[in-house]
Symmetry: C2
Subunit: 356 residues, 2 copies
Amino acid sequence: MTRPRNDTFLRALMRQPTDYTPLWLMRQAGRYLPEYRETRARAGNFMGLCTSPAFATEVTLQPLARYELDAAILFSDILTVPDAMGLGLYFAEGEGPKFERPLREEWAIRDLEAPDPAGKLRYVMDAVAEIRRALDNSVPLIGFSGSPYTLACYMIEGGASDDFRRIKTMLYERPDLLHHVLDVNARAVTAYLNAQIESGAQAVMIFDTWGGSLSHAAYREFSLAYMQQIVAGLTREKDGERVPVIVFTKGGGLWLEAIADIGCDALGLDWTVDIGQARERVGSRVALQGNLDPSVLFATPDVVAREATRVLERFGSGPGHVFNLGHGISQFTPPENVTTLVETVHSVSRKMRAGA
Amino acid sequence: MTRPRNDTFLRALMRQPTDYTPLWLMRQAGRYLPEYRETRARAGNFMGLCTSPAFATEVTLQPLARYELDAAILFSDILTVPDAMGLGLYFAEGEGPKFERPLREEWAIRDLEAPDPAGKLRYVMDAVAEIRRALDNSVPLIGFSGSPYTLACYMIEGGASDDFRRIKTMLYERPDLLHHVLDVNARAVTAYLNAQIESGAQAVMIFDTWGGSLSHAAYREFSLAYMQQIVAGLTREKDGERVPVIVFTKGGGLWLEAIADIGCDALGLDWTVDIGQARERVGSRVALQGNLDPSVLFATPDVVAREATRVLERFGSGPGHVFNLGHGISQFTPPENVTTLVETVHSVSRKMRAGA
């Protein structure tokens, strides 16, 4: 019996009727929560949290203890996969993730191999299994990975970038090399997500954080095609239950029709898209997840309630909406605003379904 | 006689037939040029370049001496207007623009006034007039300003920001205050652009660099509405010649139809939009300016030629295209690639018109 007692999230992803609109928040286990900061301090640093299944379980469950969220998401980092490839992930305080050995030489690219998820990524699978045990079938657990292109951005730039000069130069000058990196990444991510599913993830999400920095044509060739390859290779049914796949390209609002066509169950939307128009554009092909501007959570509770209601109303009635932010929750969010958000989404959407 | 000998750029903005597709490059007078770096060193710093009409003229003309560009653009900074409002613009090395007195208190917002362009902004008008004399009617001169919302981002954040937390909080919590700032900015920008036109600018462009960080609904209310107010207040004819207006919202590809409706002559497009689809969406209402990914210029000349040709072909035949990058040219661009770009755009577009 693997179906969780609260399966609203899974039902919404499959566009089945639900009593209310389920919600979870990208980066819901994070720095805006004092209990997270306390655990992180005990763990020593961020990677200490990720690599310890006990710590990862603890922080994954923290937001669920505070708020009536409809899904848990594995606490991990999107760069675990390139780290397992040997690039040497580290976090410089205040600078975000970096790699000791960024991928720049042709020989290093030719040597790149997809890591065995049962090897150096074992700690992630152990965390998934331990979180599932701790959740005790209350709500579903979401597994995730970065997209092949997004991973490649960090791998080639060596960290965050504001112009993506190195990877873009490779894209235009040596597309063959970049395609090789992306193919390895796509195989690695497929195996990684399938291992998460095998370990207990009940839905998976692909985060394409940087696909939106590409041109219209390059997005299709260098990001979308590899996400399609992954979706085609994923385990879509486990223990008789569908394992839905959510694909989210930040800044990809222009390309929703194309993303909806790669075989995923749901699209993540950032806040620049009107969710009502998005629904018209993709029709009944996929569910939609989003898309409140995370900055709304900096305002007062009445504003949070008003803006959340506006998103629900723009989506309208009918199935297929998972409420979320349009991007990860900010560390500067007052935790009490999340309480307002959760209560508003649940109560307003219940009333909408009742036709009130 | 004010019409320049090469009026291809102006004709394209008005969707009139031209012998070839004109081009200029955002930030064409900039750090990628060794002669610019030399002049900047003589001027002491960036603001020294902007505030001296002689230096501003010198750097404005530098790219035209090297390349057969079809327009010049006033060398200045988008933050001259809030600087003239008394916010104290300065440039911290490697950190971008900052304000000594960011706009955060209600009393300061209530005290904000649109500066007289003939006062503290006189140096900009002097530069426009001196550049016009130096151009000697060879090619048109473009004047420009930041959009009200983009200026407000810097004014309220106090500098560049990656989350726009302060302005977004104001937007959601105190929209009345932000509307006041934006109204002052819109009046200031209208007067500033009209003074540039009076001093000799033959076309003007509004740079909405940060409008794309807004939600669908907030973009209309807090950025587009104020650009519409400006466009309605601009001098559109000078000495019997139309003065075209270009509006560019970076990341605004989802909203092109709405932007095309505010009365401007042309839309700037970033590189995420397919220019052929953009043309279908806006029809014959406006000309289009763009939209090569600036990163293409990091690659080899053959790639530059191939990708530039692709943009021309995606636009297709017919009038109304001004070639440009989708964002400012990078300081890391090899200057010889710009030679290839200019030659390709001119020669390929001539052949396309000849039906070859």
